[in-house]
Symmetry: C2
Subunit: 303 residues, 2 copies
């Protein structure tokens, strides 16, 4: 997200940079090579997790924690858990039997750098690692179990995995190519994990239910806006700045917002979702200003 942080006030810029360092350090500890993990598998896990990435989801967990006056320290395991789930989903989505991508964030994908079996196992290891990270943390047990439950649902067959299944079947589907259909895919595939990031921030902070719900609704709208800007970047993008093959989605006949609506209407739809997202934050009052800033970053992102 660096390219756009210019527009932020200095204190927020510094805060995001500091939070990101905390996240990187925590992920580094969680994925450290240890003698009890097979070496090649351990290296592949680090390759997937410690590569370049925006760390958007953990930063959203922490921004929600700050909005709820919670403890950032206590929230780090949940923040990392969401990133581990996100990372596994990228590794598996890139597999030959799925989206068959060779390049991700400017580097060979995990199955290209290692091999297909290892990439499958990396994903298989990252999912339980996410739940191990939350359940081994210092969180009070009632908050920890709520985080496990919410993250497990968001990662499951009706959300993240269901969205990927829908997305794959939409490639071959003829007919049902409406905005509603596309939104239903991405509410599952992208928005659910972004929404749960926000909600975990509330749960970790023992925030009132009304605030947790507002955070989740904010996350769903933000997630949709994020997906639309992602589609737009893929549509306009070239492989060098994108770090993955430009317009591969289009070549594959994948259903995207710009393909369905055109670029201009897609941009408007992204902005409408950002506006709606920011309205959802009303119950949190002024303490939500970091979340508003992050929503504006997503709206204006160029990478």
């Amino acid at each position: 997200m660096e390219p756009n942080t210019e527009s932020l006030p200095d204190y927020l810029k510094n805060e995001f940079a500091a939070d990101r360092k905390l996240v990187e350090a925590a992920l580094d500890r969680i994925t450290a090579l240890t003698p009890d993990r097979p070496n090649r598998l351990g290296r592949a896990i680090r390759y997937a997790v410690m590569g370049p990435g925006k760390r958007l989801r953990p930063l959203l967990v922490i921004a929600a924690v700050r909005a709820c006056q919670g403890s950032v320290e206590l929230a780090l395991p949940a923040a990392c858990a969401v990133e581990l789930i996100h990372t596994y989903s990228l590794v598996h989505d890139d597999l030959p039997a799925m989206d068959d991508d060779d390049i991700r964030r400017g580097r060979p994908t995990c199955h290209v750098e290692f091999d297909e079996a290892t990439a499958i196992l990396v994903g298989d290891a990252l999912i339980p690692l996410a739940f191990e990270t939350i359940s081994s943390s210092e969180l009070p047990t009632d908050r920890a179990i709520a985080c496990v439950r919410e993250l497990a649902q968001a990662a499951g067959a009706s959300k993240l995995v269901g969205g990927q299944a829908d997305d794959l079947s939409a490639e071959s589907a003829v007919g049902v190519r409406s905005v509603e259909h596309l939104e239903s895919i991405h509410l599952r595939k992208t928005a659910a994990l972004i929404a749960v990031s926000l909600k975990l921030g509330g749960l970790v902070s023992a925030a009132p239910e009304e605030h947790c719900r507002a955070l989740e609704e904010f996350g769903l709208r933000l997630g949709l806006a994020f997906q639309i800007t992602d589609d737009l970047l893929d549509f306009d993008g070239d492989p060098v700045t994108m770090g993955k093959r430009g317009s591969k989605d289009g070549q594959r006949g994948k259903l995207t917002y710009p393909a369905l609506l055109g670029a201009e209407a897609s941009r408007q739809l992204a902005q409408a979702n950002i506006d709606q997202a920011i309205r959802e934050l009303q119950p949190l009052g002024d303490s939500a200003r970091r979340l508003v800033a992050m929503a504006q970053l997503v709206a204006g992102r160029t990478s």
Copy 2:
């Protein structure tokens, strides 16, 4: 395990049959087709989970609960969670990039019956479903979070997934083909999940730490014995009674106990592990008799 229950006293035979029905009914509820899961994915999940299977791991959870005078009702979610993890590991192990098996328990494997992408997604959905099942249960939060932690570790890179990674690299490895190496693979790949089944039974029942430890040690030895008898069945077996291709492991040059030690020494090693397993149960006294009976079933199993 039916073929061998003849040797059991009637009350145990009836108890195992009743417990198994409880497990089947609970798995049926957990994997019910719902409108929020994509239909094909939902059907594939049910195909994988509700197929024929011994349900050894959930029955071990429940046997441990009975040995600890715990509540079977309260233990069912944890029992099902272990079975979901076991099922995912079979679906992914069968994939073309892994063991490439077409037949499992007499039926086409998940990626043959559906397709490879769906089989990957089935596994990806079953792992969070296991943790959702525990964290949505009626268990007191401290016991639930302990179960999440133990199961997540057992399913992770240093245990279940690490064992599969080791097993795949052992196929291509030249040289290191010792019993110690084979035991280190199967302590991870097979025994860890069987051991955690027993330990979860203790945790759910809030059993004293000494009993939980004894249950886990029993499980590790039982798990090794189970793997050795599995190798022996594959070595002797024919595809009809086995439900999978006979001696495929041998054809693939996979490291197995009979290939390394011969059949007779393998049988002796299995029995030695069973004997050791039963000795580990000493702290539990007479209440462990169901576990002793299950260990004897594993020792004499023919399927």
